[in-house]
Structure formats: structure tokens, C-alpha cells
Amino acid sequence: MKALEVKNLSISFNRYQKGLKKKDLKVISNLNISLYEGQILAIAGSSGSGKSLLAHAILGILPKNAKVEGTMLWYGEPLTLSLQKKLRGKELALVPQSITYLDPIKRVGKQISEDQSKVTAVLKRYDLSEKIKRLYPFELSGGMARRVLLATAVAGNAKVIIADEPTPGLSKELAETAMSHFRELADQGAAVLLITHDLDLALRYADRIAVFYAGTTVEIAKASDFEREELLRHPYSRALWNAMPQNNFKSTPGVQPYAGSIESGCVFAPRCNLKTLECTQTTPPMRILRDGEVCCYHAT
């Protein structure tokens, strides 16, 4: 069951350049993803590449100077601002990066949920003592904070959970525990969108991986496709595979461009050794290939 669909999403910001001029800076361009119930979709890309903005766009909490184009569908219905407001915190939940997202002067218990019985249930589930309810956010340790953020999302019986970089700063054990909680939630029927820069972690826990490059998704593959290079479709995904230390640890020359800096054609074309004239002139559309999706004219 398709819970959330994002089609051709583009996000740009109106910012000041040097001096007095304002310019539109594109951060995400023509992004396509679909979230299915019971599955974890991970978006993997480097830190600061704009992936968090996707989470904010879905929730409807982008800053005022952001311009959004494209469509988002919630169980087939258009996800309008009012629908976002209705679902936020309940069926559509965010597990944010840090506790700065919590109100620092409100006690934790009140912030997890208004309904105190739900709070008790959810604290028990994540092995947190009742005493947590009376604490303030700044009094929580790293691991506790993670679980509290998770509890906040779960207490609302969310159908779609967006986890924005849930593991930086956590020890290996805590990161694995956090991820296993998401797995549990997915297994119970929620659709989970995992935004992370840790490809290893994503590969271990997600069902599908959306490969993020230059502000767009170039491939959506099953996590198991990353076991062998041939199973991957897009040249960039293969380059990623080659660069992983456990594979060949081999780099591909060039630098990832900014979203929108490639005027026409495929965003990976400048670095691709398969490129042809067609690649530089028109952007390849997303097509279904071997149980996955890819934006490439040459993928087989």
C-alpha cells in the first residue's frame, strides 16, 4: 500500500548573495520517491546536501523563503498545507536529528503526548523509566534523548515516520538499537523514510535505498542490490559501490555539483564515462528497471 508519494519535487530558497542581490538557490530538483507501508526507504547522500529539507517539505515546515514545486500524495490524495497540519504529529511524524526540536522549557512527559496513558505505554516499550516524564530535554543523555524522540513519534500512532539523521553521535550499539526500533515500527505496518549519510547503516536496515545526487534521486534500488555491482543500475550507484571500503575503496574523479547547477541533461553526465550527446541535452526520466527505478538512458 503506497502511503506517501513525492513526484518531481523541487525546492529552492530565495537568499542574499554577496551584497544586496537576492537569488534563487535550488537545493532539491525533480525528486521522486514512494513510501510503502511496512517498508523502510533510506535516502543516502552526504551531510548537508539538502536531504533534511525533503523531510521538512513533506511535513510542511519549510521556512518562508522556500519555494516548492511538484506534487506530494498521501494515500493517493494531494498533500495540501491543511492536510499536513492535520496529520503532523499524529499520522505523519518526524523523528528529528536532535532534542533542539523539543521545547526546552516543557517537561518531557508532556511533550511525548497529551494522553498520559499513551506516554506510559510508549516509555515502557522503549525501556525508559517513568521518572523521565518529569525531566526537561536538556537533562537527557544521548541515548535517552534518541528514545524520547522516537517515543514522541510513536505515541501518535504514526502511519508514516520520517527519521532525519537519527544516528550521528551515537555509539555503535545505540545506533543499532535505534535502527532496530525503526525496523520494528516498519514491521508493524508503518512506512519509514530514513534520511542518513551513513550508507552502511542504511544498507543493513532499509528495504530500499534511494540514491541521492545533486539534489535529485538517480536510482531507487533494493538494499540487497548493493551486494554486487552488477545488480545496481545507475553509474553513480556503481561508483558508490566501488568507493566503499569493504568493496574496492576506489574513487571516481570529480565533485558532486549543486542542485540546479547542471542546466540541462543528466546531473551525473559530467563525471560519467557512458555519456552520450543525449545525456547532456535532456534529463532522463525515471523508469522502472529490474524491480527498481533509475534515471539513466544507458542503464541495463
Binding site: F13, N14, R15, Y16, L20, K22, K64, N65
Partner: protein
């Protein structure tokens, strides 16, 4: 201001205000003293087309007197602020760069200094220095550095603890080089804004001191003198003698304050990108 983004309109505001201030200053210094000649035929006239601010009891045009007075206030205020700002810069930087003991000592000194009502201190200094322009100037310079010193100290301390400054030392750079290339450029914007915002204080104090008789001598057409003279004529109904000079002073002070906050908005690197 449709079609202009906030930064552009802020820049325009700043330039306009600066132009007004410069115009006042130049007007006051360039107007010949002959414009201040007493003319008893024009005694105590209400505001009119010929004399937009009216005339005083010696027949002098109030507009000319006001402009000259504001110009004088600007001069005294500017010089006093600059000296005070320099004192603040030295003390603030010393506190931030010195070892813990020096920092503690300076903080203690600033606390003590700030606990004394500065108007009283100002009057005392002015009297000791025998009043006049020098007295006022030094008095203001010596009493207004505290807040800016604290700001400078905070900025220097903040930069000093940044990783890129600590790393600089490991690249072999001398403390002097680090102060010049890393710390100074970081402090300057806030320092500059603090300096501009000191002007209104300095000007108001100069006028206040002069009004009370502890400042500039009566021969100088300072706003304070104008206002203190005007006080004695208020009961005779010559309201314009106090109204226009007083209003002009307030407007000037507000304009400079607005300039200071606009410059701060333009220089802040962490402002919202709206």
C-alpha cells in the same frame, strides 16, 4: 519601497540618514557667524516663511541657531565617542587576552565604575576640568566606555576559543598575527556599531551638561544653551524658542540611533536569509 529587498532598503536608509547628518554638520560649520547677528527689529517673531523656526529675543534666526547648535553637538559627540570607543577597545581586548587575573581585575573595575551614577561623575569631571568644551569632551569620553568594553571583551573571548583560531597557533602563527588577522576583523563590525550607538548618548549628555551650566560656554550656540535660555522665556509664550531646538535634537538622536541599528543589521553575518 516595493520591489526592493530588505537589505537594499536598509542600505538606502543608512545612506539617507548619513547624508542628513553630514548636511547638518556642514550646514552648521559653513553658515557664517553673520547669520547669527542680533537684529532687534526682528525680535521674538513667531515661526514664519522668513524665519521657519522663528527668532529669539535678540532677533537671531532660530533655524540658524539650531543648525549651528546641532553641528556643535555632533562635533563634540563624535570626538567624545571616538575617544571613549578607543578606551573601550583597549580595555576590552586587554581583559579578553590577558591571563585570568587581569580579566578578573578589569571586570571588577568595570563593575565598580558602572555602579557610580555616570551623570554625577560626568559633572564632577567637567567641573574639575573647568568646564568648557574640553571638560565636556573628556567627561563624556571617560564615562561611556563600559558597555562597549564589555561587548568587545565578549567578542574577543568568543573568537579566541574557536577551533580555527586555536589551529592557527599550531600552524606557527604568532599571537600578534592571530590578533590582527583573526580577532580584529571579527570584533570590528560590533565595535563599529557600538561606536555609532554611542553618539546619541554623547550628544544628549553634552546638551544636558550645557543646559545645566556645566558644559559649553554661553557664547557657543550649543543646543543646551539655546534650551536653557528658552526656559526663561517660556512663561511669556515664546514656545518656539524651546520647541524647535528640542525637537531637532531628539530627531537627530533618533536618526543616529536608527543608523546604528541599520548598520548592525547590514553587518550581521548570521542574519536570516529572508
Amino acid at each position: 519601497m516595493r520591489g526592493l529587498n530588505r537589505r537594499t532598503s536598509a542600505a538606502i536608509t543608512a545612506i539617507v540618514i548619513l547624508a542628513i547628518i553630514i548636511a547638518i554638520y556642514l550646514g552648521g560649520s559653513l553658515l557664517p557667524d553673520s547669520a547669527l547677528k542680533a537684529d532687534f527689529s526682528q525680535k521674538a517673531l513667531k515661526p514664519s516663511v522668513d524665519h521657519i523656526f522663528g527668532t529669539d529675543y535678540l532677533g537671531r534666526d532660530m533655524f540658524v541657531r539650531t543648525i549651528k547648535g546641532l553641528s556643535l553637538s555632533l562635533t563634540v559627540g563624535a570626538i567624545a565617542s571616538c575617544i571613549s570607543a578607543l578606551i573601550a577597545l583597549v580595555i576590552g581586548t586587554t581583559a579578553a587576552l590577558g591571563k585570568g587575573l587581569i580579566d578578573h581585575a578589569i571586570n571588577w573595575f568595570i563593575d565598580v565604575f558602572m555602579s557610580v551614577p555616570h551623570t554625577v561623575l560626568l559633572i564632577l569631571i567637567a567641573m574639575v576640568l573647568d568646564r568648557g568644551a574640553t571638560g565636556v569632551l573628556i567627561g563624556i569620553a571617560l564615562t561611556h566606555w563600559c558597555q562597549l568594553a564589555r561587548i568587545v571583551r565578549a567578542e574577543v573571548l568568543q573568537v579566541r576559543s574557536q577551533q580555527f583560531v586555536l589551529a592557527s597557533r599550531k600552524f606557527g602563527k604568532s599571537p600578534f598575527w592571530i590578533a590582527k588577522e583573526h580577532i580584529f576583523p571579527h570584533v570590528i563590525p560590533q565595535f563599529f556599531v557600538g561606536l555609532i550607538l554611542m553618539f546619541p548618548h554623547a550628544i544628549m549628555h553634552e546638551s544636558g551638561l550645557t543646559f545645566l551650566g556645566f558644559g559649553l560656554p554661553p557664547e557657543q550656540p550649543a543646543i543646551g544653551i539655546i534650551l536653557s535660555e528658552a526656559m526663561s522665556y517660556i512663561s511669556s509664550g515664546a514656545w518656539w524658542l524651546a520647541f524647535f531646538p528640542g525637537l531637532s535634537l531628539v530627531i537627530l538622536v533618533l536618526l543616529i540611533d536608527k543608523l546604528g541599528s541599520t548598520v548592525r543589521y547590514l553587518l550581521e553575518p548570521r542574519e536570516a536569509q529572508m
